[in-house]
Symmetry: C2
């Protein structure tokens, strides 16, 4: 009997354990780039979508706007992104990657992909595809307020 019997058939428990491994690996991979998960994700999205606003970015990454301020401060201080004024709206700031930011984004993304390939070496292509389908389905489950009625 496994030491955590009773929990091993729970999707949440299993994903937590697996994700912890991925997260630890990811942290090691990003460390030489001076990035952590949120700044990394933000930088990649900004690189792909120059001019995106902070609110849009927060929505895209499913994090609170307020929790993005410090990470973006860090990226800006390192000269990886800039916050540009938006002509029509003086509240908004357009996030744009600098050339250094673009370079770092691509390099970090390549490193992450390489390490993920290693992490998933023991998983078949078909199972990876199933994993992605399952994640997509879970992500889109409705929030279940008043399911009755």
């Amino acid at each position: 009997m496994r030491a955590d019997a009773g929990l091993r058939d729970l999707v949440g428990y299993r994903m937590k354990r697996a994700f912890a491994v991925i997260q630890a690996d990811l942290s090691r991979v990003l460390e030489p780039f001076g990035l952590r998960m949120i700044p990394f994700s933000a930088l990649v999205v900004i690189a792909r979508q120059p001019g995106i606003g902070q609110g849009q970015l927060a929505a895209a990454l499913a994090v609170e706007r307020s929790n993005l301020v410090a990470p973006l401060d860090g990226l800006e201080a390192r000269g990886l992104i800039r916050r540009e004024a938006v002509p029509g709206d003086r509240r908004a700031l357009a996030l744009k990657p600098t050339p250094a930011g673009l370079t770092l984004a691509e390099a970090a993304l390549a490193a992450v992909r390489a390490h993920e390939a290693r992490l998933m070496a023991g998983v078949s292509e078909a199972d990876v595809a199933a994993l992605f389908r399952a994640c997509a389905a879970i992500e889109t489950v409705p929030e279940r307020e008043e399911t009755s009625g």
Copy 2:
């Protein structure tokens, strides 16, 4: 183009998003039982393996021993578990569920299973099986110090 393009093919990113949904649902499910994730997991394992030690429990759940002390204090204070002295070793404490603890463990586990079923309603049996296989494979990836040599 999705707002988080460039990240959506990363396993870590997708699992993080999906796990966040599961975690939020799990918190809601456990709330009426007065449990959170770690105490819940601990209680279930203790219920299944009466007499387990805190170090063993920590290893089983992959958490640090020190991070288990407060949750176990809570469970003990609520009369759900007891820490019994171990005859042969006066350092060790054997964790045992009380009748109330056993009852609550089973009720909470049933509720969690029911809600997971709802959460996974849109995922085929085969894909769930693949998800479990993928998680198992990821969990057992070696720690990768000196891969070269």
